[in-house]
Amino acid sequence: MNDQKPLLDIRNLSTQFHTQDGIVKAVDGVSYNVKRGETIALVGESGCGKTVSALSILRLIPDPPGKIASGEIIFDGQDLLKLPIEAMTDIRGDKISMIFQEPLTSLDPVLTIGRQITEALERHRDMNGKEAEEEAIRLLKIVGIPQPDRRIKDYPHQFSGGMRQRAMIALAISCEPQLILADEPTTVVDVTIQAQLLELIRNITKDLNTALILITHNLGIVARYAHRVYVMYAGHIIEHGSSTDIYHHACHPYTQGLLGSVPRLDEPRKMRLKPIEGQPPDLIAPPKGCAFAPRCDRAMEACYKGRPPMVEITPDHYTACILASPEKKKTK
């Protein structure tokens, strides 16, 4: 599994927003890849560029003000950024689909649930109305909606939040995509539903051998569901590795900080949660050196001088921190 070519390979992607105050570098030179059937997680605080990097894959950055400034997004052998827009709309929903954060607002309020699913099926899989409806019922059954044959005639406001997200998942898998982007899929539902939904997403991706990019700020989710984790901060990836690497051997002070601010059941109870002090930097004028340096309690002079390079710590575990670089270790 490890030596196959990645399904999606993002290289050096930069997405910018042109605002009155200047250019916001929401995503700045980010590279990551996903293999077929693999689940990766993009983790980071709000505003660190997770969602923008996902929307960039689908080329859905609102333009203006947004713009993909540079980079390559190689999906299944072709660069999505070079495709004509018609070819891109064919890929959207068919080969790559997305689950949104807000199930309350991401379904059209004036169309029935069934209609929204059959729409995608008719668009991409050349089904006629009858076939599409049967398929929609089957999909709703898969995602665990009771009496799907009745519920497809319902409107989104007649579904609860959790059910809407299930319907959204049904919609996302309707054309058996090779890649699903899940943007904080469980943030707005309560914890019990969260676990059910994630379990559901995991089972489906396993059955269909679908790759999944899980965008979240919750490191607790990551450990359980993702094979590999990319930690983002201020538009950069600052550490990535297997979820075991990240969870148990985090190297970057920011990753450690994130872990320190999440309650853990496997630690003694008297452990106190440690928040990360300060605010993420302004992306219009990011600091010259390491973006995290101003909030880092182990920052030193060198941190402010230049961006630390990505260094390999163990195979497939990389971090962009001076503390982890080999010369530093030697001088210590």
Binding site: L58, L60, T89, D90, I91, R92, G93, D94, S97, M98, F100, E102, T105, S106, L107, D108, P109, V110, L111, E119, A120, R123, H124, P146, Q147, R150, K153, D154, Y155, Q158, M168, L171
Partner: protein
């Protein structure tokens, strides 16, 4: 299992929901019922009427209301009630057909501008602003002079000046709807922009459009009456409430009923549409949904 099946709520479509809310609004229903009654009367009355709207009876001019002539007769001895009913026909058809013209022009232009955005939107909306800034009545008089006095031309003239409101409304709706997640979702699932406009954006903006149309109808009716009053409406002898008031004006002290009845009729019809529009706005506004 049976318990679960029984507990399933009945299906309401969105329009069904709106209808249930509208039904609770007594004033709106009263308005709607009055409009329907007036419309029915204009259809049925001609079959039973003893009078023709144009036939004159110079032996019985300027009579007050009586059993013979329910609302009296005018200065040419024509039955006022009959003319009032035929005038309702004129008013209602003006109300409805101008709105068809308004929708046919305003909806596509507004939707196109809103959905396309950018420079195209800018150019279209500046043109709309120009039409909007032009005084309505002046433009209608101008068009009326060019197009002539048939009732269809009146529809056309009023329609041509009132479509800008709908175009602006639809554009605004679409601009705000475009920011909604479900539109992004539709794009994620491969919808082209034309498809998203017709399938998602337009249906979602329909509620406010229906409300605006309901409010536009009395405005169009009033515009027609005003045109007729200043003498550039439908050609006589076609009855129009505005023309009836103007004719009655000359003899207002001798026969006040000639002004009174058509004025009341205009008032009732306009109020009815306004109440209905109010009710529709409440029923269709998702924010007021309980």
């Amino acid at each position: 299992m049976t318990v679960a099946e029984e507990s399933v709520r009945p299906h309401h479509t969105l329009w069904g929901d709106a209808w249930i809310r509208l039904r609770r609004n007594k004033l709106a229903i009263t308005g709607g019922v009055i409009i329907i009654l007036i419309a029915l009367m204009t259809i049925i009355y001609p079959f039973f009427s003893r009078y023709d709207f144009a036939s004159q009876d110079l032996d019985a001019i300027l009579q007050g209301p009586s059993a013979e002539h329910w609302m009296g007769t005018d200065e040419l001895g024509r039955d006022v009630f009959t003319r009032l009913v035929y005038g309702a026909q004129t008013s209602l058809s003006v109300g409805i057909f101008t709105q068809i013209i308004v929708l046919a022009i305003g909806l596509p232009i507004g939707a196109f501008a809103g959905a396309t955005g950018g420079m195209t939107d800018n150019i279209i909306m500046r043109f709309v602003d120009v039409v909007y800034a032009f005084p309505d009545l002046l433009l209608i008089i101008l068009l009326r002079a060019i197009l002539g006095g048939s009732i269809y031309m009146i529809f056309f003239a009023i329609g041509l000046v009132s479509w800008v409101n709908i175009a602006r409304l639809v554009r605004g709706q679409i601009l705000s709807l475009k920011q909604r997640d479900f539109v992004t979702a539709a794009r994620v699932f491969g919808g082209s922009s034309g498809y998203i406009t017709t399938r998602h954006l337009l249906p979602n903006s329909l509620g406010p459009v229906i409300v605006a149309v309901t409010f536009n109808i009395p405005r169009a009716i009033f515009a027609e009456a005003a045109l007729a009053y200043i003498g550039i409406g439908v050609k006589p002898p076609t009855p129009s409430w505005g023309a009836m008031i103007r004719d009655g004006n000359n003899v207002i002290f001798a026969a006040p009923h000639l002004v009174l009845f058509p004025a009341i009729a205009i008032g009732i019809l306009m109020l009815s549409f306004t109440f209905l529009g109010d009710g529709l706005r409440d029923a269709l506004d998702p924010r007021l949904r309980r």
